[in-house]
């Protein structure tokens, strides 16, 4: 009996320690974000919102934040539109090349981002699309479409086709059936897909670092270049703002379709 109790305490301690390791960087960044010294040191000497104020006064960060929001929003919308079309084709039709198509859609999961990054850089460069909005949107589209297809296909497979058929029998055109019946039924999948696509685009650093430099720089690339030279708490404050945003989006996804299904 005592052995059992000891075992359970040891097990609990182990799990707690592992969680502590997993969450340590985020907790530490949270604490240091209230420091205002110009260098990296722990623990903070004084506590204030000075670093948060500094972030909002930093033109480079605010500019990049705006660009990241815009790029993420465009990527989210485009990835969902393309995702809906592809999902409709793959869930509702049987055609030659369907297997090949579903392989192609899943394939970007299988290639390391850094390899894809070099390839996309080589493709965009002759068209003058490096460091441009169309360039970064295209690059992010390729890595987000697999996710939107997955969430939307899941919602689409769950739609009871008899409902659609009933509408059709009663004289609704295919477009009306899609707009009035199918679209409302798959809305959770659409929103979750858009949220995930936005989040991936917003957080993506690897591919972005290869194809943007100044004009279309995103927030993760700005943070990366800042960290190459400086490590002051401004980055911590900025990180906390980003984390808060991610958490908000994650809550939305979790509510709609469940986080584990979406990833």
């Amino acid at each position: 009996m005592t052995a059992n109790l000891f075992g359970r305490i040891a097990w609990r301690t182990l799990i707690t320690a592992l969680y502590a390791f997993l969450l340590a960087p985020i907790v530490v960044v949270f604490i240091i974000s209230f420091d205002t010294r110009q260098y990296l040191a722990f623990p903070p000497e004084s506590w204030s919102f000075g670093s948060y104020e500094a972030v909002f006064g930093n033109r480079a960060f605010i500019g990049a934040f705006g660009r990241s929001l815009l790029i993420g929003a465009i990527v989210g919308v485009l990835a969902v539109v393309v995702g809906v079309l592809l999902s409709l084709a793959m869930v509702r039709y049987r055609f030659r090349g369907r297997e090949a198509l579903s392989f192609l859609v899943a394939a970007p999961f299988l290639v390391p981002h850094i390899v894809l990054a070099v390839g996309i850089m080589l493709v965009l460069s002759p068209f003058g699309l490096l460091d441009s909005y169309p360039g970064i949107v295209l690059a992010h589209l390729g890595i987000t479409i697999p996710y939107t297809v997955r969430t939307i296909s899941m919602s689409l497979s769950a739609v009871d086709m008899r409902v659609e058929e009933a509408a059709r029998v009663h004289g609704a055109s295919p477009a009306a059936v899609f707009r009035r019946i199918t679209l409302p039924l798959i809305r959770p999948g659409l929103i979750a897909g858009a949220a995930i696509a936005f989040l991936i685009s917003f957080d993506e650093a690897t591919i972005s670092l290869f194809i943007v430099s100044s004009k279309a720089s995103t927030l993760p690339t700005e943070i990366y270049h800042y960290l190459e030279y400086k490590t002051d708490p401004q980055i911590a404050a900025l990180s906390m703002i980003l984390i808060a945003m991610s958490v908000a989006i994650v809550v939305v996804v979790e509510r709609l379709i469940g986080l584990r299904k979406a990833l």
Binding site: L23, V82, Y93, V111, L141
Partner: protein, 288 residues
């Protein structure tokens, strides 16, 4: 009727409209880049020569005959294996706990374990710079306790990069294990315990074999993510950690030797594919 067969003329044109945007997007952002990557890796080594009609294996022979790149490849493999091994060992208890706990906090705890996935790797790398830095959490605590006089070399080396990568990839490992632990069954464990097996025996004979496919998937996932990482090795390595990822980035954006960057990427891809093939063999022998 559950699905429409595309044979009529209108059906086919509808299908074309559905598929075309996706094909175009994936073609431009996935298929074309891979083809150009291979083409560029065979172009002469000069910045502007990407579109030149000449073919050469110069970039590959430059890599193969340079001991530096052999060391880089070895570093990459070592980093990948170390990170993968530790991430799997540290994630295993968490995944097992999340699968078996009757706690009503299970949903929250699961979200907590995988949520770090959704914060940028750059941000979490910064967190580890705070923890491992010369005036960071650990060195600061040890110095103020007068246990050390000079800060321990925890960052700006491969140790720091390895620790950070382990933590950064743990959520992936946990996620892979959670979806691979479907065969775990508490009834089997109870049966074994009732038949007199002790806890160690229940673990080694029942839990471990049933969870092995999930563990293997997690190990593969972390390995491939680790060998293609460069943001964390670069920032926490302080420019002293040389892996394939950092060298690809260096050639592509600093030296601007794109054929060499392309050749290194192709080598990374080959390394990556061979690991996947090995993994599939292992999985098959495990099931067969």
């Amino acid at each position: 009727m559950s699905a429409t067969l595309a044979k009529g003329g209108t059906d086919r044109s509808v299908l074309l409209i559905l598929v075309l945007p996706g094909l175009l997007a994936l073609g431009v952002t996935f298929v074309l880049p891979l083809i150009w990557l291979i083409r560029a890796s065979l172009a002469p080594s000069a910045f502007t020569a990407i579109t030149s009609p000449d073919w050469t294996v110069g970039s590959y022979s430059a890599v193969l005959f340079d001991p530096f790149y052999w060391r880089v490849a070895l570093n990459t493999l070592t980093l990948g294996l170390t990170v993968s091994a530790f991430a799997v060992v540290l994630s295993y208890p968490i995944a097992l706990f999340l699968v078996r706990t009757p706690s009503r906090w299970r949903g929250v705890l699961t979200a907590l374990a995988v949520a770090p996935l959704l914060t940028s790797a750059v941000v979490r790398t910064y967190g580890w710079m705070v923890i491992l830095g010369d005036r960071g959490v650990i060195n600061g605590a040890l110095t103020s306790l007068h246990l050390i006089e000079r800060p321990l070399p925890l960052s700006n080396n491969s140790f720091g990069a390895t620790v950070a990568l382990i933590e950064i990839f743990m959520p992936y490992a946990i996620l892979a294990m959670l979806s691979g632990f479907g065969r775990l069954n508490s009834a089997l464990e109870e049966a074994a315990a009732m038949l007199g097996a002790n806890r160690l025996r229940v673990f080694t004979r029942i839990i471990l074999p049933l969870s092995l496919p999930g563990v293997l998937t997690a190990a593969l996932l972390v390995f491939v993510l680790a060998i293609s990482s460069f943001v964390t090795p670069r920032l926490l390595g302080g420019g002293r950690v040389f892996v394939l990822g950092t060298e690809v980035y260096n050639e592509a954006t600093v030296t601007l030797n794109w054929p060499l960057a392309a050749a290194l990427s192709v080598i990374l891809l080959v390394l990556f594919s061979s690991v996947i093939v090995l993994y599939q063999r292992a999985l098959r022998s495990l099931e067969g």
